[in-house]
């Protein structure tokens, strides 16, 4: 029934088969036989049947391949071959050869297993393969190994009854039988005698791998394109390491052949034979243990075939799993609040190295020539940066480096069809990236700002999506090289296009830390500014002219912070929400009310402009577009920085100073709680503790004690924070959402509280007690990890120990969580990477098979959703019915619901409006 896939793209790999190249096959795929160790003649032309023979491909422009006729870029290269005078062992198969020799008869060449045993193994293999659908199961390999082990144990051949001798391997490639050397020729002859059917039980498929092919009689020579020679600046040729090695092989091969044919003494022939073996061995692997690596004249070991593939610098890890790219830069990052979120500051040194290719056209020919004349390091009159040109590329693909000396002559040569690589200039589009690149906001497009210094500069509002800070973080930068790439980056990847996150439909870019503090100080209550300050503030956001002052004190005119901040809001913005400081209580400015772009009440804090929580950022990005949102974030940043610099802001240990009465009060609260716990313990031990339903007596005690101690910590914090005024810097930061929390403060000023491991009071350690400082079976507060001290007062030794236990658990948890979630994410990415949403809104894979009939089932782009919901009912209702539609700010403070909808949400019920609204308002 199932026809083949319509589009025919979907193919499945059913099995992989590995085989050996036979000498015949090597000769068949060879384009030429190689007989001479010479490479080039006196004119620098490749010698026929030499290592650089043109039959094996071309590496020089202008020449043509003698096999396929292609030029440098068309010819893929072709193999050649060297006929070896005597056979040599391939080091790569040394283990297999050893096993084969040990498990076969020295007389008749049969596998040392009886017919019945062989059949048994074959049957077992067939059974295990049948279980692995279509392929060979890993179990099959185990069976073949067992077969080899069994055969090796045999002392007498079950077929011809010949006694077997012990075969050993001397370091890299010498086999001995009872101490007598086996030459590769003898080894090969033995392997040749093995019948095909004896190979199968060992897991060898004789159709594609005869064992004697592991002993080389012909050496395959890789194409010249694999081992290109390079021309040094002095004009000398320098050959690839592989070519050097092949030259050695050819020389010794030649001498060996001559000596053997001339009937030289056996000793000499054997020496040369061993030398040939050495060269072929190091040609494959120059780090074979037991032999000295082949070296250059300089003493550097040669990089031969295995070295090309292995390790971090090998083909796999450095060229296939990860690639290095040109036109990229990496350096330390540092902040610059005065550049836009869309921009990135680039040091001169980097800007001079990074280039953009400019195609010379009729319209730009003159100006491009001007650039080239400037050379690679032009500066202005005052030594300022001017972009120069590093290379020009001729239509034939040749690159010419531009130097101060040749700049003018090179500029003359520039004409239509040339490409000029121009250094970075302000406004160029680049990609900026910070690892680990966990989501799409980890790589965003920025506009270049070339500036002094040696670090990349970025606006602090883009730290959250990159998860960057400035404690030594480094970031990568890539310069786009085509118009298409630049257009795509500009439209899709620009920072401002990522203000809203596809993860939860809210902003990820916005104010952090001091920006929130600054905005708070600017707009809290009756914050006001003098004429000078106002001019300074407005100049920061590029506004000319002062608005009318709206405050008067002591006969002086003042401008309120709220008035000034309103100047950067869209003129028709009307919104109401709860400020971060107003998360509980109903004090002044706790509710933000903005009407027609004017702040009527409320303070600008994390809930207004913060990354993740900023309602204003969210609203502006959604309703006024990304460009307006970018403008708002940039302006808010500048206002905040200017305000905090005008006013000054600092925090220190004295922010947690509380009066002696408060300390006494806290001590009393804690003392009482600990006594109560002691009372609970006593009741427990006396059997008077009342058991909680569903819990054991011990659990009851633990729960009660945790509750009591937890409450006392909160009480201590409450007392402490009563004495930390609203003017307190630490309090300002905590309440505005800039940094830290009231819990942090109460732990500094009041009490740290109960330490927990696995969510329980600490109980591990010594026999019936946590530490030897306590009596056995002490279940009191101190003995089970309650820390009554504050961070400021300091911890006593046992408290410190318990605190470390709790802290350690936290560290281990994060370490485990990151590695595990990283692995889970990688698996998800691998599964989902080539699914895409098609024009008909279905989600399909590369075979165009439907995965989902509608993306997310509702077809909503999460980035354009409102906290995961398709429509923002509150917003629509306020828009239509006015702000009264929702009962005050509560409705506007509607929690982010995400995708956690329940079954009741799936049923659409028509109710009267007021009921639906009040239901919403309560969320």
């Amino acid at each position: 029934m199932m026809p083949t896939p319509l589009h025919g793209v979907s193919k499945r790999i059913q099995a992989l088969r590995f085989g050996l190249l036979s000498p015949d096959e090597i000769r068949r795929m060879s384009a030429t036989k190689i007989i001479t160790a010479d490479t080039y003649d006196d004119d620098g032309f490749p010698i026929d049947m030499g290592l650089m023979d043109l039959h094996m491909g071309v590496i020089e422009p202008g020449l043509r391949c003698k096999t396929c006729g292609g030029r440098v870029d068309d010819c893929p290269g072709h193999f050649g071959h060297i006929d070896l005078a005597m056979p040599v062992i391939h080091v790569g198969y040394i283990k297999e050869i050893k096993t084969l020799l040990q498990s076969t008869c020295r007389a008749c060449g049969r596998l040392l297993l009886s017919r019945e045993e062989k059949q048994e193994y074959l049957d077992e293999m067939r059974k295990s393969d049948a279980l692995a659908a279509g392929g060979e199961s890993p179990r099959t390999m185990e069976i073949t190994k067992q077969a080899a082990r069994d055969a090796m144990k045999r002392q007498v051949c079950p077929h011809c009854k010949a006694d077997q001798m012990k075969i050993t391997l001397d370091k890299p490639t010498t086999f001995r039988e009872d101490g007598h050397k086996l030459t590769p020729k003898e080894v090969r002859e033995r392997l040749e005698r093995m019948p095909d059917e004896d190979l199968r039980p060992l897991g060898i498929n004789p159709d594609v791998a005869r064992p004697e092919w592991m002993i080389l009689t012909v050496l395959s020579v890789p194409p010249v394109t694999v081992r290109p020679s390079i021309t040094l600046e002095s004009g000398d040729r320098s050959e690839d390491d592989l070519t050097h090695k092949l030259v050695d092989v050819l020389r010794i091969n030649q001498r060996l052949r001559e000596n053997r044919d001339a009937g030289a003494p056996q000793l000499i022939v054997e020496d040369l034979w061993e030398l040939l073996q050495y060269h072929v061995t190091t040609y494959y692997d120059n780090q074979t243990s037991g032999i000295p690596p082949a070296r250059h004249r300089s003493g550097r070991p040669l990089k031969t075939l295995v070295q090309r593939l292995k390790g971090k610098e090998g083909r796999f890890r450095s060229n296939l799993s990860g690639k290095r790219v040109n036109f990229s830069a990496r350096t330390v990052i540092s902040p610059d609040p005065l550049i836009s979120i869309n921009e990135v500051g680039i040091p001169y040194q980097a800007a001079r190295e990074l280039t953009v290719p400019v195609h010379v056209q009729a319209y730009n020919q003159e100006i491009v020539k001007e650039w080239v004349i400037r050379g690679p390091k032009p500066t202005g009159e005052n030594g300022e940066y001017i972009p120069g040109v590093n290379y020009i590329i001729r239509p034939d693909g040749r690159r010419i480096r531009v130097t101060d000396k040749n700049a003018e002559t090179v500029a003359d040569a520039v004409e239509l069809g040339y490409v000029v690589e121009r250094q970075l200039v302000d406004g160029d589009i680049v990609l900026f990236n910070r690892q680990p690149s966990l989501h799409r906001m980890s790589i965003m497009a920025h506009q270049v700002r070339v500036m002094a210094g040696k670090t990349f500069r970025l606006n602090l509002a883009v730290c959250p999506p990159y998860n960057a800070d400035f404690d030594g973080d480094e970031m990568n930068l890539h310069v786009l090289q085509s118009e298409e790439a630049r257009a795509e980056a500009k439209i899709l990847m620009k920072v401002q296009e990522h203000i809203l996150s596809p993860r939860f439909g809210g902003p990820v870019i916005g104010a952090i830390h001091d920006h929130i503090t600054g905005a708070f100080l600017m707009t809290y209550k009756d914050a006001r500014f003098t004429r000078d300050e106002t001019s300074y503030l407005l100049s920061m956001v590029g506004r000319a002219g002062l608005p009318k002052p709206d405050m008067k004190a002591d006969g002086q005119s003042y401008w309120s912070g709220k008035l000034l901040f309103s100047t950067i809001l869209p003129e028709d913005l009307t919104v109401t929400f709860r400020a971060s400081i107003g998360s509980r209580g109903d004090e002044e400015d706790a509710v933000v009310r903005i009407e027609k772009g004017k702040i009527r009440e409320g303070v600008m804090d994390e809930n207004a402009i913060g990354a993740f929580k900023g309602k204003l950022v969210d609203r502006i990005a959604r309703d006024y577009g990304t460009e307006r949102a970018r403008q708002f974030i940039d302006d808010a940043t500048r206002f905040a920085i200017a305000t905090i610099m005008l006013r000054g802001f600092t925090t220190g240990i004295d922010d947690e100073d509380i009066p002696q009465e408060a300390k006494d009060e806290i001590a009393e609260v804690l003392e009482r709680a600990m006594e109560e716990v002691a009372g609970l313990v006593e009741a427990y031990k006396g059997g008077e503790l009342e058991q909680m339903p569903g819990r054991s007596l011990e659990e009851t005690l633990e729960v009660e004690a945790m509750k009591k101690l937890g409450r006392s910590r909160d009480d201590a914090g409450e007392i402490a924070s009563r004495h930390l005024g609203v003017e307190n810097s630490a309090v300002i930061m905590a309440r505005s959402g800039a940094r830290g929390s009231m819990l942090n403060l109460s732990q500094m000023a009041g009490s740290i509280g109960q330490q927990a491991v696995r969510g329980e009071r600490i109980s591990r350690g010594y026999w019936k007690r946590t530490l030897p400082h306590f009596q056995p079976e002490d279940l009191g507060a101190e003995a089970k990890g309650f820390v009554r001290s504050s961070y400021k007062s300091g911890l006593n030794p046992t408290e410190y120990f318990f605190h470390s236990m709790g802290g350690r658990e936290g560290l281990v948890d994060t370490a485990v969580r990151t590695s595990r979630s990283g692995y889970m994410q990688r698996r998800l990415i691998n599964v989902l990477e080539d699914l895409k949403v098609m024009e008909d809104r279905t989600v399909r894979n590369t075979a165009k098979t439907i995965i989902q009939f509608r993306f997310g089932e509702d077809g909503v782009d999460p980035m354009r959703s409102i906290g995961g919901e398709a429509v923002d009912l509150d917003d629509i209702l306020t828009g239509v019915l006015g702000p009264e539609a929702l009962s005050g700010a509560q409705g506007a403070g509607h929690a982010v619901a995400g995708y956690g909808a329940q079954e009741k949400d799936m049923v659409v019920e028509l109710e009267d409006d007021s009921a639906a609204l009040s239901d919403d308002a309560e969320d």
Binding site: P3, L6, R844, T849, I850, F853, E857, G859, M906, V907
Partner: protein, 84 residues
């Protein structure tokens, strides 16, 4: 039938489409049958449907699955019957 899985809360509604209906759906989606998600003919839901229609359901028939969706309220998906 020892237990009717269709009565379980977590099992969505399955409907067998007539060939005409199936062709209509395929035309609307502009896909061939092989591009639809699959359901094995041995699936309990198919076996239930076979009991309902009173005859075996051939490979290639299209099943309409109607289920509650966290995002879309009610969501309709289609599956093509394949050999078990």
């Amino acid at each position: 039938m020892a237990f009717n899985v269709m009565e379980h809360d977590m099992v969505p509604e399955h409907h067998l489409l007539s060939e005409k209906e199936a062709d209509g759906v395929l035309a609307e989606l502009r896909v061939g049958r092989e591009q639809l998600p699959k359901i094995k003919s041995g699936d309990p839901a198919i076996r239930f449907l076979e009991e309902v229609v009173g005859e075996p359901i051939a490979e290639g028939r299209v099943i309409k699955v109607v289920r509650l969706s966290a995002t879309a309220g009610v969501f309709v998906a289609y599956r093509v019957v394949v050999e078990r």
